[in-house]
Amino acid sequence: MDLSAINPVLLIASLMVAATPILLAGIGELVTERAGVLNLGVEGMMITGAICGFAAAVITGSPLLGFVAAALGGAMLSLLFAFLTQYALANQVASGLALTLFGLGLSALLGQGYVGIKPPATPRIDIPFLTDLPVVGRILFGHDLMVYFGIALVAAVWAFLRYSRAGLILRAVGESHDAAHALGYKVRRVRVLAIMFGGACAGLGGAYVSLIRVPQWTEGMTAGAGWIALALVVFASWKPWRVLLGAYLFGGVTVLQLNLQAAGLAIPVEYLSMSPYLITILVLVIMSADKSRAPAALGRIFHAAQ
């Protein structure tokens, strides 16, 4: 084993890349859950976004259009969930599972012609002087645009929930849909929009996996990242900045175990590969002691009786 082969600077830099998919999906799901909707379909929306973005980027040759298509794809799929839970009043857990199963099938179907193709490369932002700085340069600068977009999105969601009127309404809907309804807010409309935002973010996260992190298309390539994103929201106690912290923590674990695999640690590869999932469970156990932060109306069905 050669631990010196692991370069801490590169480790942190690649950690930010590894964290971005779950960060994007997680912050989207956070908004959905703050509106009182538990969407377990993140994995399905991510994988659909992954193939939509991949296909669009290959066809148009533009990664940017790929990400736009991924967001649209994720949002479209989430509309199915919105219809089921908000209009057909179906159970949210079951509907979310349905969304994941359907999304996995749909993406495999859409992705048939795209196996083994390389997507167009996403340019890194290269600021001539800053990127060349010794340690900080590689960590802070020289990433692709989506890494910064993810961080900016966290800040935007935080500000939206905390300072804007619309954010206040969204939180009210999530805490007590009956009270919000009595005040005249459109509970359904708010929730559908929140679900779509979550879908779009999950789509972006998926596309980040297929366009930048891997980059290629294989069936089921998100490999549970959507579920980790769901766990991330619990870990974050439904607070935006903690999603960022949690995503970097999980990203760190993932990158570290990959590096240890490469360095030839005496632990079998399979045990290293299961470590992110085990750590997710561990974190869930630690965080689940504090239930007070969950939106009060999370997962409850809203039906406005006249």
Binding site: P268, M274, V285, S288
Partner: protein, 360 residues
């Protein structure tokens, strides 16, 4: 304008009609999907639903129907208990894998000894493996209030890695010329889950699935525990007043679900699959979720739904080879079924009303 009005009582008629309606809608939209893929929709539907049952080669496919339906029914019956009580075990796939590993491992430990007691012992080990794997989310939920959905699902990925690990290491066939995967249990008489009646597809897993359905029916309809399960799902507060201890119910539902999934894995690995290999699991644990809902979480319904879903698997394979229909299309088809099911289910509990608002 269209609106929904809550029924005082769930409609019994619609409870039976909604699964049929969902299947019908899926057939229509599935046909459209197949047409969009450039296949003749009627031929595709005939290949999937008619040929395996009554077509030219049906004698070959009919036994397959039982083989494929058995694990689905076994797992779905277990899951339905939890789903009824609002306990969401969605990690059946992992429990299925661990059941297979434990059961096969037990059998292989005796190799090459022959004995009547080996297979029953494997069955016990399989059930125990699935049970213990399900106990992880159960005990974490009871002790720490951890979300069982996420934990049971994370454990699927852990189980998949364990499966890869044992098929490359611990259980690898020493005479397998270095290929991953265990010894073939079909060639080891004492451990082989052989057909009870040759040529019918009726192996011990099928028999166990039928027993599980009967057991599930009696439990839910004739036993106090079953009543408590239903009560907890429909009115958790009332259940607490009725003296239900939620923690015990969580352990029971997850435990039974895990044990049945583990059994399904053991019967599969010792019968149709034959060996522990890296890609031994075929997603039964997830499809069983659809089966459970399609059967309206009712044991008899699950029996029928399991057979229907098995039919789509077999028909899908035929369509794949004869029509070139992609495997993923069948997956989409199955997903669609669950969607329609959830969408039309609203009719059971609500009445559709046309026109303006009624004064309160």
């Amino acid at each position: 304008m269209l609106r929904l009005e809550k029924r005082r009582q769930p409609s019994r008629g619609w409870a039976w009609a909604t699964p049929l309606l969902a299947v019908l809608a899926t057939l229509v939209f599935g046909g459209l999907l197949f047409a969009a893929l450039g296949k003749d929709p009627l031929v595709a539907l005939q290949t999937i639903f008619y040929d395996p049952l009554l077509g030219e080669h049906a004698f070959f496919y009919r036994p397959q129907l039982l083989v494929k339906a058995a694990p689905l029914i076994l797992i779905a019956t277990g899951l339905s208990l939890g789903f009824r009580a609002g306990i969401w075990n969605i990690g059946a796939e992992g429990q299925y894998i661990i059941g297979a590993i434990c059961g096969a491992g037990c059998g292989l430990a005796f190799y090459p000894m022959e004995g009547w007691f080996i297979f029953p012992l494997m069955v016990i080990c399989g059930a125990l493996g699935g049970f213990l794997w399900a106990m992880i989310p159960a005990l974490l939920k009871v002790r720490f209030g951890t979300n069982e959905i996420l934990v049971s699902l994370m454990l699927v990925y852990v189980a998949e890695q364990l499966l890869a690990s044992v098929s490359l290491g611990l259980l690898k066939n020493p005479q397998g010329f270095g290929f991953p995967g265990s010894r073939n249990l079909q060639q080891y008489d004492s451990a082989h889950n052989a057909e009870i009646f040759a040529g019918t597809g009726m192996h011990w897993g099928v028999a166990t699935a039928l027993i599980a359905v009967i057991f599930g029916y009696i439990l839910l309809n004739r036993h106090l525990l079953g009543f408590h399960i239903r009560l907890t799902g429909e009115a958790p507060r009332a259940a607490r007043f009725a003296g239900v201890i939620p923690a015990r119910l969580v352990v029971f539902c997850l435990g039974v679900g895990g044990a049945l999934a583990g059994l399904a894995g053991l019967f599969e690995v010792s019968g149709p699959a034959g060996q522990v290999s890296i890609d031994f699991n075929a997603g039964y644990g997830f499809t069983a979720i659809i089966v459970a809902f399609l059967g309206r979480l009712h044991p008899v319904g699950i029996l029928l739904a399991g057979l229907l879903m098995a039919l789509t698997y077999i028909g899908g394979e035929i369509a794949q080879s004869t029509l070139g229909l992609p495997a993923a299309a069948i997956q989409v088809f199955q997903g669609m079924l669950l969607f329609f099911l959830l969408a039309v289910d609203v009719l059971t509990n609500y009445r559709l009303r046309f026109g303006g608002r009624v004064k309160a």
